[in-house]
């Protein structure tokens, strides 16, 4: 993977809101065909970094190259062309509630291509099959479950065959089974389409399953970049503490969670 092309290259990115520093000299790269997972606790700056990687923000300090183009030098037209090569699956799906699932997925094709309706319908059906949602194109997002919304968001994100796919907290709010299925979907998309994938998550289990490399952010600085094995065996006490704390925080076992919840309810009843 190390000798493949750099799809994203960030150098010394610094950003702040008012006087508060958010990112402090972040440097990293994402290579063709790799899954880069960005991890970090609340306030570590991972969401801000993702906005920069998606070209939603332009750096004022540091450089940011996406597909070999320095994004601070791009004209509006060039930025428009670049964005057609990026796909994003947002945390909550960000599907348009006034449109059906099929119309949501078709939107980028409708806006950016001259394809006829029949071809677009076929492409939508194909992508829905890839994400295991075949036959759901006529439903509205309100009629879908959380996991299905995320799958539909993935289908929309890859409808234009992007060179880079961004996934913001794909497992957030999902039960472990659905979350694991989404991890499989991310791996399948990478294998089938060969794109670079950037995933922001706080779920260790998921990160270890899908990542080729992991970037750990802490208070706006990069603590670690490397493979899963390198992370697991990293000698730094700070990193190990961070990982162990997160692992303990992960509510993984649903049965245990239900038992705890029932216990609390019974205690509340006894107190009342």
């Amino acid at each position: 993977m190390a000798d493949t092309r750099k799809m994203i290259e960030v150098e010394d990115l610094v950003t702040h809101y008012g006087t508060r520093m958010i990112l402090q000299g972040v440097s990293m790269d994402v290579r063709e065909g790799e899954i880069m997972v960005i991890m970090g606790g609340s306030g570590s700056g991972k969401s801000t970094l993702l906005r920069y990687l998606m070209a939603l923000e332009t750096p004022t300090s540091g450089t940011m190259r996406i597909l070999d183009r320095d994004i601070s030098e791009l004209s509006m037209k060039e930025m428009f062309a670049l964005r057609k090569k990026l796909g994003v699956a947002f945390q909550g799906g960000a599907l348009f509630s006034s449109m059906t699932v099929g119309e949501n997925i078709m939107l980028p094709l409708f806006e950016h291509t001259d394809l006829d309706r029949q071809t677009m319908d076929i492409m939508v059906r194909l992508k829905l099959e890839v994400v295991d949602l075949a036959g759901f194109e006529d439903l509205t997002p309100a009629e879908l479950s959380g996991g299905m919304i995320k799958r539909a968001a993935f289908a929309r994100a890859v409808i234009m065959d992007p060179r880079i796919l961004f996934c913001d907290e794909p497992s957030a709010g999902l039960d472990p089974v659905v979350s694991s299925a989404l991890d499989d979907l991310i791996l399948r998309l990478r294998d089938a389409m060969g794109m670079a994938i950037v995933v922001v998550t706080h779920e260790l289990e998921s990160a270890f399953k899908i990542a080729d490399r992991i970037t750990v952010l802490d208070r706006g600085k990069i603590l670690f970049i490397g493979t899963v094995e390198e992370l697991r065996n990293h000698p730094s006490e700070r990193i190990q503490n961070l990982l162990n704390r997160r692992m303990e925080d992960d509510p993984v076992d649903p049965d245990e969670y239900l038992r705890r919840l029932m216990g609390e309810k019974m205690q509340e009843g006894a107190t009342a």
Binding site: M54, L56, F80, R83, L86, V88, A94, F96, P108, E111
Partner: protein, 273 residues
């Protein structure tokens, strides 16, 4: 209690005034940019192969215009009848009740039709626009549009602005007709004036300037409602509660802007003769 410094509180006050003034200028600037960008996409979008979608415009026109017809009809009828009742009572004191048609026609066409329509559309569609854009913002749908290379102004603002500019004047004309008709019915009952005679009096009372006055106002109101709705929606912060606040703020601001703009129109019209 620490001693307070008069110069300190004065400078604080001036700083607050300065900040408020700067923020207001920034908002005016943002509004201007939104209108300019919307017009750009409406006229030059097709040339750039990024047209404002007709489907979105028609959906907005249906929401802003067609769906508002019943409530505009009811309120305009009521206002027309009230104008006739009050007019007859007032003019009877001078024995001039036969001149009531003049008052109804001028008031309805120049003032009440654009005002009622503007206020109703601000309450129905301006607030809905703010809520829609605010919800889209907190659901990251605006970010999704940008990442997909779809300009949010072209996709959301331009259709709403165009629909308002077409439908608010259309509703204003409809409101004028309904109000005049209701006034005519009451005048017919109270003063035994036939509808034909009433219509002739209305036509005699009005000239092109009156109609243009009402029409121009309605276009100004349409732009204000759309831009205030969009600005409040785009400024939403803090989840569902933020959407609620933005919606309320958009209605209050739009109605205030409509009434103040109305006053400026009347002032200009009277000063210019």
């Amino acid at each position: 209690m620490p001693p307070t410094s008069t110069s300190g509180s004065v400078s604080d006050f001036l700083e607050r005034v300065g900040r408020a003034a700067t923020s207001s200028f920034a908002e005016f600037g943002f509004a201007g940019v939104l209108v300019a960008q919307s017009l750009f996409w409406l006229f030059f979008g097709p040339r750039l192969r990024q047209p404002v979608r007709m489907g979105a415009i028609i959906a907005q026109m249906r929401e802003v215009g067609i769906n508002a017809i019943p409530i505009v009809a009811v309120l305009s009828t009521a206002i027309g009848a009230v104008l006739a009742m009050q007019g007859i009572i007032s003019l009877k004191k001078f024995g001039a009740e036969s001149q009531v048609t003049f008052g109804i026609a001028i008031s309805m066409v120049r003032e009440f039709a654009p005002l009622i329509t503007g206020i109703l559309v601000a309450g129905r569609s301006g607030s809905a626009l703010a809520a829609r854009i605010g919800t889209m913002k907190i659901n990251q749908e605006m970010d999704a549009l940008e990442v997909m290379g779809i300009n949010p102004v072209r996709f959301l603002v331009a259709p709403a602005l165009f629909a308002m500019i077409v439908m608010v004047p259309a509703l204003t004309i409809f409101s004028g007709f309904m109000g005049l008709y209701a006034g005519g019915l009451y005048v017919g009952i109270d003063l035994s004036v036939s509808m034909d005679a009433y219509i002739t009096q209305v036509i005699d009372a009005l000239d092109a300037a009156d109609v243009l006055h009402g029409f121009a106002k309605s276009i100004a109101f349409a732009v204000l409602i759309a831009i205030i709705g969009v600005m409040n929606g785009a400024g939403v912060q803090g989840g569902a509660e933020g959407v609620g606040k933005a919606t309320t703020r958009s209605v209050v601001q739009a109605i205030s802007a409509i009434v103040i703009t109305d006053m400026i129109f009347v002032l200009m019209a009277t000063q210019m003769g």
